[in-house]
Amino acid sequence: MTAALETTALSKRYGRAWALRDCTLSIPSGRVAAVVGPNGAGKTTLMRLAVGLHRPTRGSVCVFGRAPRDDADSRARIGFVGQETPLYRDLSVADHLEMGRRLNGDAWDGTSAIGRLSKLSIPLERRAGELSGGQRAQVALTIALAKRPDLLVLDEPVASLDPLARRTFLSELMGEVATRQLSVLLSSHVIADLEHRCDHLVILSKARIQVLGDVDDLLESHRVLIGPTTSELPDAVVVSSHEIGRQRTILVRSDQPVDAPGWAVEPIALEDLVLAYLSDPESGHLPGPEGRA
């Protein structure tokens, strides 16, 4: 089966600075993949490459096997919501739907779009510039969904929303994902938003992929160990280590169950896992033969 998104040594340079370097990843169809990383790590660049807004400087990006930048047919299979959820300020919500209908032809699903907006009680005649942040995000998502995409790419869609609107938006999104069997690529810097919602994780740092993998696998292979500073380190890769007084907390990675006498072994939450890697950009974990683990 073709991957929803596949990149090979994907790189993008602006002037002399690399926004993304040697990014190789494959996201299977039907997954919800989260892209996390600090600001400027290359999240937006990766997303814009994936939807064909950017052309790679080097390497390749394929969506369902085709390069999106020069292929309108493959772009027709992608729904995109950009950062700050851009809409035409002076156009009404209804105008935006009309635009979608005119630009997408038969693929456009206007009926469900109108149904979705009325369920969210967003007035169709209101101009986009007068909508709240949450409503804007919903309109942008509705437009992206009305294309009946196979891949939905969302670049920090909830960044500007308050916590309640954020939760509403994300559960709406997950509902759609479940009913439509979409593949999703979603970026956020609020990691708590992603927990229990994504099943694939991409951590970007300094324009490179730092961690890549299935969320369940990652959670299973990482353990938090707490013990006295005097305890011997177990036989596993230490991702991070902190000492407070005489107590030491380490995060280890191992494919086998960790055998660590003298340590309390605990599972890790996704947010802690992500933060541990982000706070130490030198450590990394990639699958496959080219992994830097």
Binding site: D90, M99, L103
Partner: protein
């Protein structure tokens, strides 16, 4: 796509429409007063009596009547000159600069470029809609201005002169399309509306002066005309010939009987005033280089063609840039 390009610009179209109405009201009010003075004040009848004569007596040829008319509308003419010179630039920049740049600034391109339509079609549609609005509104303005200038052209004979030529006929349409295309191109490259406006103003003025001063006199080979310094008839200056060449304070030069050039500009001397002609000799002739008034529309067409061609080149550059260079 065209629907979206129109729909997005409703506000700008209304603003342009209001601007056109105000311009039309001002021009028709002042223009009607000039035309009625022209007819009722006897100037029209005087010109009719002259019947387009190429040569007229030194003091005659409706010159006194024409001067009185020009003096009466001197302020209005100056005002028109000051305002109308900038109309094509303002219209072009207002429409051209945001055409691409505003969408880059607001990142609405990420919405529209990810729909089922090619970027090439998108950019050409934007350019075509902007070009059409600019062309149509400038054709309206230029027609009104050309009508408005009618009596002033007749009374001053300088329709073909720098700055006056530039405000009537076809050329304002060409200038505005050029300004719009230039602003759209710079907007696409810089991604900033305001920056594009600033750069366009500078580049536009340079190109306009360059074409007007360097190229325009050479659109066609100039004609030469000689007539005696000591004479009783002179070329009809109100016909609208363009005397562009020549040295000194006048518009042409004086040749002595020997064929050498005399110092200073042209002159016309009565036979009974030897002090006027003594230094150049009685047989000296005036020589002037000019484009006849009949070439006015040919020159208009050539200059408009130059600016439209530049605009098309810039539009193609803009499209290429949007398709290939914008990430």
């Amino acid at each position: 796509m065209i629907w979206l390009a129109w729909r997005r610009r409703r506000g700008a179209i209304i603003a342009t429409g209001i601007g056109l109405l105000v311009a039309a009201a001002l021009l028709s009010l002042t223009g009607r007063s000039m035309w009625s003075t022209f007819h009722d004040g006897g100037l029209a009848a005087c010109f009719a009596g002259l019947d387009g004569a190429r040569w007229v007596p030194v003091s005659g040829g409706c010159q006194d009547e024409a001067q009185a008319f020009a003096a009466r509308f001197f302020t209005l003419r100056l005002l028109g000159l000051a305002v109308l010179t900038f109309v094509p630039l303002v219209v072009g920049v207002f429409w051209g600069a945001p055409a691409i740049a505003r969408e880059l600034e607001d990142d609405t391109v990420s919405l529209v470029w990810t729909q089922g339509m090619s970027r090439g079609r998108w950019v050409w549609t934007q350019l075509a809609v902007v070009g059409a609005v600019v062309a149509v509104s400038m054709i309206v303005v230029a027609s009104l201005v050309t009508w408005w200038y009618g009596p002033l052209n007749a009374a001053t004979g300088d329709r073909f002169q720098w700055l006056i030529f530039d405000q009537q006929g076809l050329v304002p349409v060409g200038y505005a399309i050029f300004a719009a295309s230039l602003a759209a191109c710079i907007g696409a490259v810089t991604g900033r509306t305001m920056r594009s406006m600033a750069i366009t103003v500078v580049v536009f003025i340079i190109v306009r002066i360059g074409v007007a001063v360097l190229a325009r006199p050479r659109f066609m080979e100039g004609l030469e005309r000689t007539y005696p310094v000591v004479t009783e008839r002179v070329p009809n200056r109100l016909l609208g010939d363009w005397l562009y060449g020549g040295g000194g304070p006048g518009v042409g030069v004086v040749l002595r009987a020997s064929g050498e050039r005399a110092a200073g500009g042209q002159r016309v001397c009565p036979q009974l005033d030897p002090a006027c002609w003594a230094d150049v000799g009685r047989a000296a002739t005036n020589l002037e280089l000019f484009h006849p008034a009949s070439r006015f529309w040919a020159f208009q067409a050539i200059e408009t063609g130059i600016f439209v061609a530049l605009a098309i080149g810039l539009a193609a550059t803009t499209a290429w840039w949007v398709r290939n260079r914008l990430a």
